[in-house]
Amino acid sequence: MKTFNHFGLTDFLEDASFRAWVFGEATDEVAWEWEQFPILHPDRAPVFKKAREILRAVEGDTFTVPAPRIRQNIRQIMEDTEPAAFEQPRPWYQSAPWRWAAAAAVLLMVAWFGWQRTRSLADPSTQVYHQLTAESKTPLDEVTNSTSKNRLVLLDDGSSVLLQPNSRISFPKQFNQHDRREVYLTGEAFFEVAKNPEKPFFVYADNLITKVLGTSFTVRANGKDQVNVIVKTGKVSVFTRNDHNRVEKQQSRQLIGLVLTPNQRALFHREDGRLLRSLVEAPELLDLPIQQPIFEFTSTPIAAVFRTLEKAYGVEIVYDAEVMKNCYLTASLDDEPLFEKLNLICGTLDAHYEQMDAKILISSKGCP
């Protein structure tokens, strides 16, 4: 039997049974007792009513969704954390950050956690790399960056790759003989892929395949336990090499499979082969200068523009500073490949560029 020695406001508020009654969660018996309270204790009825009003006010305009919907949401969470989650991914248009997918471009990163500074041939990422490049039917070019700086690699299709230290990339000498663009990576790189929906671009890194229909992304792959694919802008699809629907996913004109949109990431766990999707909670993972929005120019002297590009791509740009001293650029460049950026800049300034070794030569008659 409950005791009802309530006098002050907080006596009521602090009583869990009273609160349960107000919020409609009390048993019939308890509810009946509380309903009798103001009748049995008219002197305390005002405080009683006051406490009830306060609780209702505290509940405010909060609400819940219907139970079936909650069950569905919970099922979704269970499915998305299921070890085989990548087999039946949530349609991309239902996924959480789709609302934030505005840009069409892709900035993607495959990151390895458990980074090893001194990688040996034994590390799984490199093993896979050797295996895949050996199996490739087309002759491949390989670029290794053993320096401590980023190295710019320009691909035949106009895409640019910023290869990070201790990284290696293989790619066909010419893409146009193939119906898809396939590159192999171990280590880390930032990709800006030239748009060509006819020829999807694939990055093979460790056990993951990342498919892009256009634009730009980063891949980092050197570590142990997990591969991490992060999308900054745009859309890519990710699947494992062991995926039995892999052929279909690769050949589809759409991006199917685990589709990632901005601020989403796919985590691949090596030991159990699971591929999971989640939100990026630390956007600072995208910390390369090139990934920052630094390509906003408003009446910027051309020297400063070129300096920005040199820094972002680690490339030397040669131009006549004296001739171009009156040239200013107003442009908003984002994640198009370096060549497209140069095309845009040169188009605006009526200049031309050519590539020579690792340098970009700009020729211009100057600006009025």
Partner: protein, 200 residues
């Protein structure tokens, strides 16, 4: 008030331990136990159901991924409320920066409203029972939140302090101020009401 229903289930410590060991059923049980109250708590910050659901989805996916590295907890509810609250505020700020949240919702993110104005408004307006709701809604948001967590969710001061990432004393102050305010302004109309009751 909700705790009572759970006494037949394993304790939080046991459940959490099972979850950290990768027990899927324990994980599902945790979600099922807390989803509704977390959702309701979310509606304090925004009325965007989709956003709340997304935050909850991502929160649970995240803790599943991180289950091996999360620490032990004496109260799963506290842990979830704290993480969820943090995430909601972060996402709302992000959404606001992108211009997807109305001004009203963004204003709720402001740490304190102009309480003086409210006070002035209430001093001049005679408070009656149906006005209590309004009075509560005019309290500073953090006082409202503390009231909600204490009296709707039945959490204790320590738990609220951790969820709201403020110290115990601040929680007590919020609650005390809120109740004092409501009590004081209530006296204005309790007397006629009392007379009415006694005269019956």
């Amino acid at each position: 008030m909700i705790e009572a229903a759970y006494t037949a289930h394993p304790s939080d410590e046991q459940l959490w331990q099972q979850f950290r060991e990768g027990n899927r059923r324990a994980f599902e049980q945790i979600i099922t136990r807390h989803y509704t109250s977390l959702f309701r708590f979310g509606t304090r910050f925004t009325k965007d159901i989709g956003l709340i659901e997304d935050c909850l989805h991502d929160l649970f996916v995240y803790i599943w991924e991180k289950r091996q590295s999360v620490g032990s907890t004496d109260s799963i509810r506290k842990y979830l409320f704290k993480s969820f609250r943090h995430k909601m505020l972060l996402e709302l700020q992000r959404a606001y920066r992108r211009g997807w949240v109305s001004e009203d919702e963004a204003a709720e993110l402001a740490p304190e409203q102009n309480f003086e104005d409210t006070l002035f408004f209430l001093e001049n307006e005679r408070l009656t029972t149906h006005k209590i709701k309004e009075a509560v809604s005019h309290l500073p948001v953090r006082q409202q939140e503390a009231l909600y967590l204490r009296y709707f969710e039945g959490l204790d001061i320590d738990q609220i302090a951790q969820i709201m990432t403020i110290n115990r004393q601040s929680v007590s102050n919020h609650l005390h101020k809120a109740l004092t305010f409501l009590r004081e302004h209530w006296e204005d109309f309790t007397i006629p009401l009392l007379i009415l009751c006694l005269s019956r």
